[in-house]
Amino acid sequence: MSVQIWTYLFVGASFSLYLGIAWWSRVRTTQGFYVAGRGVPAAANGMATAADWMSAASFISMAGLVSTMGYAGGVYLMGWTGGFVLLALLLAPYLRKFGHYTVPDFMGDRYESKLVRLVAIICALFVSFTYVAGQMRGVGVVFSRFLEVDVNIGVIIGMVIVFIYATLGGMKGITWTQVAQYWVLITAFLVPAIAISIKLTGTGIPQLGLGSDLQGTAVSLLSRLDGIQQEFGFGPYTEPFIGQWDKVNVFFVALALMVGTAGLPHVIVRFYTVKSPKAARWSGFWALFFISLLYLTAPAISGFARFYMLDSLNGAKEQDLPDWFKSWEQTGLILWFDDGDGTVRYTGNSDNEIFRAGALTGPELAKIARQHQQWIDTDGAKGVNARPLMNEMGLNGPDRDIIVLATPEMAELSNWIIAFMAAGGLAAALSTASGLLLVISSSVAHDLYFKIMNPKATEKQRLLVGRGTIGVAVVIAGLFGIYPPGFVGQVVAFAFGFAAASFFPVIVLGIFWKRVGTIPALCGMVAGLGITAFYVISVVFFDMPQWTLGLTDQGIDPQGFGTVGMFVNLAVTIGLTPLFPAPSEKVQALIDQVREPEGWSPPINIDESAEH
């Protein structure tokens, strides 16, 4: 059977599974809608958190990113896992004991201020919307690449599916579909990785394979890769601190990603769905365990694919190019502009012949290709050499997405595995999108509508507003997916920095230092977020030279500036605290209660407490 028929089969089957789960787990109460009735077992919550966390970007793009960055790719691997340690140790059990629905809930009650709640709502909405737009685009891209339908139709199909299961089941439906989505995505990721590991190193465990010798030789794959990288004008793969990724920048970006991960609302909110603080601790462990299965495999795929590409493409003639090259050439993920000798050269120098289409449209690309062909045919007399042109646009090297998408073909796997990757990519994008939509819904329906605008709303009204918000949010997210605003792609990389500079320090201090009052916390958040936003916006949009802070000649990468913002936030909050009044007796008692062992006082039942 062809790849396409297999793809329809897998995508159809997985979508029916998600809808079936949604029908089975439909809910009628707000508690079921926002926190799945707090009855999710720790291991299942761990899987759901893992699927929630691993987006289309983790599944499709991350391995490619590591593949081109080498050692420095570890920034993303460490950053996006290290944050879970902070989350599990500093936040999850306490927030669960506090027993609310959302992050703004905690901020508003701990700091006794509607303004703090409002700032938290705006931050949560901002982060969620920039994120969800990327996911919807991811759904469309997977559809268009594997099923050859229009990107926009893909986005609309994705919207309809998410809308059905998110409105029917709320958090409960989302949780159990995420559990199913986790297994789809992890299987789709592991099978090709294992196959290519066996092919290159003879080891069935990719993590060991990356550190082993090449099949049939006594040379280790990584040292051969280092050699081959240098031979073709790239820096050695395993060598740290090359180019703009010096020690200070690697450190700052990694720390900003870690702290930002711990401050992202759609991850934190998952810990509200379990039975108890004990279960929250366990589900922190399960979450990182399940995430690590993918995050430990991705660098292996990166190394294998990097070696395989450099090794098999360089020196290849037209007729001996592999099949995967030809099939992905059509999508523009990889392009070859020959210099006239009929031999491929993929290098880090100016003689490189491998490019990608990037944001070029079909007609633009066709024109470039036509003129290049003319340039070759006439020996440079007419036409335009495409290579300097592409270099200028920064389009040298293949698209990073190809690393994961083409791995099954590189490993010469059967058609059904290739089709299964499509279902895996869709699972990754849909699971993250649905988690974010729920955060948007709870921020609007619970925090804004119920807690600020209409505190007398009945259960039925609240559910209706919650479901309605998801509907509206799906449509907005879909529109972002169809007409991607240019700034989204640029901004999403900085969402972590904003979360690191705003939420994290204030939540942690709120739990661990009773004395912190409203005004210092507010000033800290504004200062941290303000300086980070100022730096990112000035550098990215207004070409401000990067600050060095006396630490690095390279200047601080805007992605890593969240680390600076976090320290500013901490310094302002801690510095101002002694000058302003302590929180009220009531809040202090509440913090004491959060610090007790489980079961010491009766659990705080927020639905029955008077002020709710």
């Binding site: 082993s212 280790s220 060598e239 601790r281 610090r595 062992p597």
Partner: protein, 113 residues
Amino acid sequence: MPPPPPESPPQALDPAYESQILKSYWRRNIILMLILLSIWAAAGLGCGILFADTLNQYTLPGTGYPLGFWFAQQGSIIVFVFLILIYALIMNRLDRSHMADRTRSRAGKEAAQ
């Protein structure tokens, strides 16, 4: 007044003793947290970044991984998983033992009355 049952601690139910239990629980929690977070920083930010260039001169025994590279792409993640596992195991035991202290103290108090 009958003597307290042998399994109960000398103090019967009194707020001072209970707040002492709470204090000891919180203190141990903080100590555990600080230890685990230092390992977190040492493995990820230390071995994976700050000392990566030095560590890269060695390879992970038995493999072809340069050590600094291994910490950045594999080792630190493995350490992170174990840190959360240890935290969950020890904290859940702390929860149980401190609750048991209180139960014993209250049982002693009831027997005393």
